[in-house]
């Protein structure tokens, strides 16, 4: 697509000559690389609470970020005013990081490669607002009808449509149109003699409204959320201490995100601050484990046609049969480490400096029958759903909180237990994986990952796995 036909060319009249001028300004004081990230994002959100549509919001944000790299140094400035004077000013501020004559040969801009992973004709953001209002109403009705013990329902539908343009001093010009939609349902249930319990379900992806009409309906999320809340009404205290834990398929893949994913981001590794630093080629997991980060899966929440530095995303093998294979790179790290690009440079918005991030992180399926996995455990915990997690990448310790789990007694799931945090150590815990199921599932599309104050959308996935030893933080 020629620049003049792109969103920024046609709507905001940005020309190739403008881009070259801004890049030249960014490199006017030296430096060995510069890039521009233009972003226009339209967002809407609707929420229902107390059985009424309580809030409806929409908004627009636009701006440009200018970055200059000089050796290991980064200069960054941004502007939410796209007038040429303001962009030039931002470019000059970013240029201050560099000193000396420019080392960069002027390269004409040519359109870069990218995938076509979310060819959504009409983004949810472009549909009639009332159609999306209907989604939250359906979810509210369904959750309330699920069980008389349900007494509170909050349903929301949040979507955005982001247009980006990236131009780099090494001559790449790339655009993308990135739709995103997510539905979320939160339910409270209560019964005599015990406190209320909550359930939460949600999902979506880089999809249009038809996804919520045909594939994962409002009723699907409402039912799942209400089911969780009702199950928790009978939960008993979780056990405490080291034990065998079986993780169910899908969202429990957050284990991989925390236990290995962050620790393999190249910025930490080039600085030697990760527990995984210098361990490429070493055994860090049981031979049953192969873990990949794949930004190229169609329509997924964590997928991107190109990363936020204009590099096409790809499938990166992080751990292969237990052996550590590679890190996730952004441009800065791959330049310094002289390694290939992995399409992992991401940023929250034009106001943020890109860094290596995950996309969709999951473990490949194994050979075990999931029911065999549970049957093999005399006493332990089965975790079906999780809340958030966190990791200290330096010592490798990570936590994640089980929001729906069951005791395993003599190979059978028995009582549901209350929320409990599990804690392990990245380079050690996956060594204790002794069975991997054939039932790989990706999550439903509600992950948000935070790093150094920047949030980006991610996905995770997991087959059923058995971990022989991990610490469970219950009270019993």
């Amino acid at each position: 697509m020629p620049l003049s036909d792109s969103f920024f060319g046609s709507r905001l009249a940005i020309t190739g000559r403008d881009l070259e001028r801004y890049l030249a300004e960014a490199l006017s004081r030296g430096g060995d690389y510069a890039d521009l990230y233009f972003e226009y994002i339209a967002t809407s959100s609707i929420s229902m609470d107390d059985a009424i549509v309580k809030s409806a919001t929409q908004g627009v944000s636009l701006g440009v970020g200018v970055r200059v790299l000089a050796g290991e140094r980064t200069g960054y400035a941004y502007s939410d005013d796209l007038s040429p004077e303001r962009i030039v000013k931002a470019a000059r501020v970013a240029a201050c990081i560099a000193a000396g004559p420019s080392q960069v040969e002027k390269t004409p801009l040519r359109e870069g490669d990218k995938h076509n992973l979310y060819p959504v004709l009409t983004a949810a953001t472009e549909t009639a607002f009332s159609d999306r209002v209907e989604m939250v109403k359906r979810a509210d009705r369904c959750a309330r009808a699920y069980d008389p013990r349900v007494f509170q329902v909050q349903a929301s539908f949040v979507d955005n449509l982001r247009h980006v343009l990236i131009a780099t001093s090494d001559g790449i010009l790339n655009y993308d149109r990135q739709p995103m939609a997510r539905m979320s349902v939160r339910v409270l249930a209560r019964q005599e003699g015990s406190p209320p319990q909550s359930g939460h379900a949600g999902g979506g992806g880089r999809v249009g409204l038809e996804f919520f009409l045909e594939e994962k309906t409002p009723e699907h999320f409402a039912t799942e959320s209400a089911r969780q809340a009702i199950v928790q009404l009978d939960a008993i205290d979780a056990p405490a201490g080291e034990m065998t834990v079986v993780l169910g398929p899908g969202w429990p893949g957050i284990l991989l995100h925390e236990a290995v994913g962050h620790g393999l981001e190249a910025d930490f590794n080039r600085k030697g601050t990760s527990a995984f630093s210098g361990r490429i080629g070493q055994q860090v997991a049981s031979p049953l484990c192969t873990v990949v980060d794949d930004g190229t899966i169609r329509s997924r929440r964590g997928s991107l046609n190109m990363d936020d530095e204009g590099v096409p995303t790809q499938r990166n093998v992080l751990i292969e049969n237990g052996i550590l294979r590679g890190y996730l790179q952004d441009r800065l790290s791959s330049r310094i480490l002289r390694s290939g690009q992995t399409g992992s440079g991401r940023r929250e918005s034009y106001a943020h400096i890109p860094m290596p991030r995950m996309t969709n992180t999951f473990m490949l399926a194994g050979e075990s029958d999931p029911s065999e996995v549970v049957r093999s455990v005399p006493r332990g915990l089965y975790c079906k759903s999780f809340g958030g997690g966190q990791v200290d990448i330096t010592n490798g310790n990570f936590v994640f909180t089980a929001s729906e789990s069951y005791l395993i007694e003599d190979g059978h799931l028995t009582r549901p237990v209350r929320n409990a945090t599990l804690i392990g150590n990245g380079p050690e815990t996956l060594r204790f994986v002794s069975m991997v199921g054939h039932d790989l599932e990706l999550d439903e599309g509600m992950g948000i990952c935070g790093k150094e104050g920047q949030s980006v959308a991610v996905g995770v996935g997991l087959p059923t796995i058995k971990i022989d030893r991990i610490t469970v933080g219950g009270t019993a």
Binding site: S55, A56, T57, S61, E72, S79, D80, A240, N395
Partner: protein, 445 residues
């Protein structure tokens, strides 16, 4: 800016709204990072945004934009009015009553010009001094995630159709360091920081670097302890994190939804009588202070828990109406959406024991310096988080501990508070002294 806000309110009324409120926010941010003695990054930029909430009868809708062009503003107004047409009538929707509006008098000392005047080379120098102090503190400080100096200058404007119009400026600066200690197979990081409205309020860079280094070093060689029940002491930095959970539990939205273990317990004993928790938006120069909240209501001092008795929730206008109460001046919002609820300076009142006195009687216990994860359920009070810290033996800090969990229930934990320290200090808008929580379950080996 204040004229623009008032004008946006008028445009909304002209477009059919019966009430409107507008928030404008401008900010300038700067950040310098130094790592391993070298400048690593510089970031500098300014931005602004406008948020408009309109009321049409008993319906409300909102819109926001960063586009201040004539067309951008026109779309903002049209969009907010359109959104109001999408919502359901809600008898509790609307602006605060006119007699609730207002602003605190006097200089709250939220803005210091010296932050804006400092030149970039000096900022980089301060950052470098901070990191070098950490790196040079001990040969085992072998690596670093760097040090940073951050500043922010803000300008907040608020106007509504009851005739309220107010504005205030804020400044902020902070210095922080994240050193990494290494010995044998053990590698640990920790951090320390100082933040203030103006430069003179910052602690000396060398002091920040040294404290950060000491904190990282004392974690070296951490081990996992056996699973057991034992008394748990939270150091101030960890006790502060508990306040975040307690805020969620007294948050007006959680209260009217019955989604808090403290809902319906006003006037009841919910904690040890040693515990008093206060929210105060009026203390000059602190980070949770402002002359008015994000609905134009003056901030105030609210005693939330007084000697163990629950005295107040934290409310904005909407949740107060739902509960048949009065707003506590805790409306908080960014540019997008409706006003939610935020705390002002939310803190645990100082107690009567020094940290040493708190530790002395404990023969075997856990001194928590950091909690990890999101394992606190404020609906039920169930509490289960990852933790690291130091083991207490015979009243002394004996050895570092990590990869364990601590678990209990907030209902019981609050009742079990055995001692509150004298060491309260504000580093941000929440603050707590050392807290001895009584017995909890520690999950380890």
């Amino acid at each position: 800016m204040i004229d623009l806000a008032a004008d946006l309110v008028q445009q909304a009324l002209a477009a059919g709204a019966t009430g409107a409120e507008c928030i404008l926010s401008e900010g300038e941010e700067f950040s310098a990072n130094v790592r391993m003695r070298e400048l690593e990054s510089l970031k500098e930029a300014g931005s602004r945004g406008a948020g408009l909430r309109v009321v049409k009868g008993k319906r409300s809708g909102s819109a926001y934009t960063s586009d201040f062009s004539v067309e951008g503003i026109r779309r903002l107004v049209a969009s907010a009015v359109e959104m109001a047409g999408m919502t359901t009538e809600d008898p509790h929707a609307g602006l605060p009553d006119p007699d609730e509006l207002g602003a605190l008098d006097g200089d709250l000392k939220l803005f210091r010009g010296d932050v804006a005047d400092l030149d970039t080379p000096r900022k980089i120098e301060l950052t470098r001094e901070t990191e070098i102090a950490a790196l040079d503190f001990d040969p085992r400080i072998a690596n670093s995630e760097g040090a940073s100096f951050d500043t922010h200058l803000g300008h907040h404007v608020f106007a509504n159709s009851h005739g309220f119009a107010g504005e205030y400026r804020t400044s902020y600066c902070s210095l922080s360091a994240v050193p990494i200690a290494k010995e044998g197979d053990s590698m640990e990081r920790d951090y320390w920081y100082s933040m203030a409205r103006g430069l003179e309020g910052l602690e000396p860079p060398a002091e920040i670097g040294r404290i950060a280094a000491r904190r990282a070093l004392r974690r070296l060689g951490a081990r996992k302890v056996d699973t057991q029940k034992a008394p748990v002491v939270f150091e101030p930095r960890a006790a502060r994190d508990l306040l975040g959970d307690l805020f969620e539990a007294v948050h007006g939205e959680a209260i009217y939804r019955q989604a808090s273990f403290l809902a319906g317990k006003l006037g009841q004993r919910v904690a040890s009588e040693k515990l008093t928790i206060i929210d105060d938006g009026t203390i000059p120069s602190l980070f949770g202070t402002s002359p008015f909240d994000d609905e134009g209501v003056p901030t105030r001092r609210t005693v939330v828990i007084e000697n163990g008795v629950l005295r107040s929730y934290l409310l904005n206008t909407y949740t107060a109406r739902k509960l048949g109460m009065k707003t506590t001046g805790n409306a908080s919002r960014g540019i997008t959406g409706n006003a939610g609820i935020g705390h002002n300076n939310f803190y645990i009142a100082q107690g009567d024991k020094s940290p040493e006195e708190i530790l002395r009687p404990i023969r075997n216990g856990f001194y928590v310096t950091e909690m990890m994860g999101f394992g606190v359920n404020t609906v039920t009070g169930d509490f289960s988080v990852g933790a690291n810290g130091l083991w207490i033996r015979d009243g002394e800090l004996a050895f570092p501990v990590s990869e364990v969990t601590i678990a209990g229930n907030l209902n019981q934990m609050l009742m079990n508070v055995e001692a509150v320290g004298t060491d309260l200090e504000f580093r941000g808008s929440t603050a707590a002294p050392t807290l001895c929580m009584g017995e909890m379950t520690i999950g380890g080996k």
